[in-house]
Point group: C2
Chain length 346, copies 2
């Protein structure tokens, strides 16, 4: 079921040969045919919805034409652009930072929840309460300057590896979604990430990984405090005070705050994205609202309603969300059926 690197290389070589042969014997085809969009997508309703939407909103003759300035596409990150199981990547970052934080503040060593994190006992760590988790986030994401945080997060994201695939986390981005982002940008869309994850964290790699510049990352954001370092240089310090909880209703509020326009297209995968899709859909005209369904245990994970599990087991994509998608003409993307491959390395 997995493509091995070997088969993949053969397929690529075959494609190159075919392409070279085609150039010798066939008349030139238009650029759009040469670079067919969304190559990692199977033909089907999901791919068709994307292509139809782009055509409807960008062809001048279309009754649903959207001027370039208003072409805004928003993407949730965790579970929509990259793997969110078994635990959010940013939480792994925070857990990994605990030893360094405790080294600087030894008084935390025997204090919970830091003691449990330092024990390395995975089961005990998995049982930590939300309150404990918040303490860990505050200790590892605040109290330093924005520049110090950026340098630390960058170093981690460039080296840390996921235990299942033994890959860097930024390699665990979904190739079909990277293609959607590129396709939309090629058609004049501004692509935004609208994530429950930390805005400062995602900004560290968003440009390199998604082609989304820092200013187009909207995320959960804490306050910062302007001040001066000992040498008189101005600094911004990350404060333990929440400014924007960019999840659920907060996503719509964050979009208003940071973008100030209603999206024309929105992509999510969970109840945390429901309001963003509703807000997008309420705009009238052609609107693209899509939900990624995790139904591919072999190639990634399976935790959607399609798995026939009770809501308590399917987590962030309960049956009610599936029902609303059907009712509101949101398009559900089946990872298993709609995606030829999940990751670029497959």
């Amino acid at each position: 079921m997995f493509e091995t690197p070997h088969i993949h290389r053969r397929a690529m070589l075959a494609a190159l040969v075919t392409s070279a042969a085609a150039r010798l014997v066939l008349p030139p085809t238009p650029a759009s045919a040469q670079d067919a969009p969304l190559p990692s997508w199977n033909e089907g309703a999901a791919k068709q919805a994307i292509v139809d939407f782009v055509r409807a909103t960008t062809e001048r003759s279309s009754s649903n034409y959207v001027p370039p300035d208003e072409r805004i596409a928003t993407f949730d990150q965790d579970g929509t652009l990259w793997v969110e199981q078994p635990i959010y990547t940013q939480v792994i970052y925070c857990l990994d930072r605990v030893p360094t934080v405790v080294a600087k503040k030894p008084e935390l060593e025997n204090v919970e929840p830091f003691k449990t994190v330092l024990s390395g006992d995975r089961e005990a760590i998995a049982r930590l309460s939300m309150r404990d988790l918040e303490k860990i986030l505050v200790a590892t994401l605040t109290g330093m300057t924005t520049e110090e945080f950026g340098a630390e997060a960058r170093k981690w994201i460039e080296t840390a590896r996921d235990p299942r695939w033994k890959r860097r986390y930024t390699e665990l981005t979904y190739q079909p979604m990277l293609e959607v982002q590129r396709y939309l940008r090629d058609n004049g869309y501004k692509t935004y990430i609208v994530t429950g994850g930390g805005q400062d964290f995602v900004r560290v790699y968003a440009e390199k990984v998604y082609g989304v510049p820092r200013e187009q990352v909207v995320g959960t954001a804490g306050a910062t405090k302007f001040g001066y370092a000992h040498d008189g240089k101005p600094i911004l310090t990350k404060e333990p005070k929440l400014l924007l909880n960019d999840d659920k209703a907060g996503k719509v509020e964050g979009i208003h705050l940071m973008i100030g326009r209603r999206p024309t297209a929105a992509f999510g995968n969970s109840v945390g994205d429901r309001q963003m899709l509703e807000w997008t859909g309420a705009g009238g005209g052609a609107r693209l609202k899509m939900l990624v369904l995790h139904d591919d245990a072999a190639r990634e994970y399976a935790y959607g309603p399609a798995m026939g599990l009770p809501d308590s087991k399917v987590g962030t994509f309960p049956q009610a969300l599936f029902d609303e998608a059907n009712k509101s003409s949101w398009t559900v993307i089946s990872m298993k059926n709609d995606w030829k491959r999940i990751f670029a390395f497959q």
Copy 2:
């Protein structure tokens, strides 16, 4: 001293004739020579600083070259891009809205500060305290949906007129600063407004007036609350809760929140812009930091330190700011000496 509309039209006609003749007899000149930047600026240190900065940061061979993605220019609005005297335009909007608000809530009619505003007594209105003013801002800027607010503000900005010039407020933008914004954009800069004014208010006209899209307006922002209207349609309601006070240190915090990059160029005119200029200057390489000095009582207003007034009379540009500008190599723009004209209609 003023160009009359008549002379202006003649000058334009003359320019057109010259240009047509030139095309017949002269070899084509490069675009840069045809469209000399900053036509409303007199030659001098201020204009030279802008031109030198653009050259230093955009020519590939320059040691201070800045990649296009990082070319960020931030502009204060009130007093930097348009007139801020004798009272901020947005405050006039709020005062103008009071009768409508009271009509909907008659219980406010005999309550201060609404009673004073309704009296029309300008001197009494000018004496209102900051606390009173806050009550007026809350009553006129919150409690409605974001769409309702946008529609009301748009209607007002398209019709209300300044009493001195009998012009719409959006005509009271400084022509030389519009040219700087365009010049920077022509050289790959993303221009942002970073204003103490209300973000939602400025977004209503920023694109049309400054060529700055809604998502590039950073301003004082209140919280919004997601919910559903009676018909089930999702709405955002403006709440009386301050999220970002985008003034002084808050401008740097707002820049971090909304842009996530340190500006390469920053323009202001008051103590409210001091930290933004310091933050910009601390970035290393070529950085442009400019302050507009209001020293032209005849064509606009005079209230800077150049007027020889005590700090209590010069308001937002005290001597200390002038001293810091000298010490930190910020360039002061004299409206009187550096600008050929102030407004497009002159």
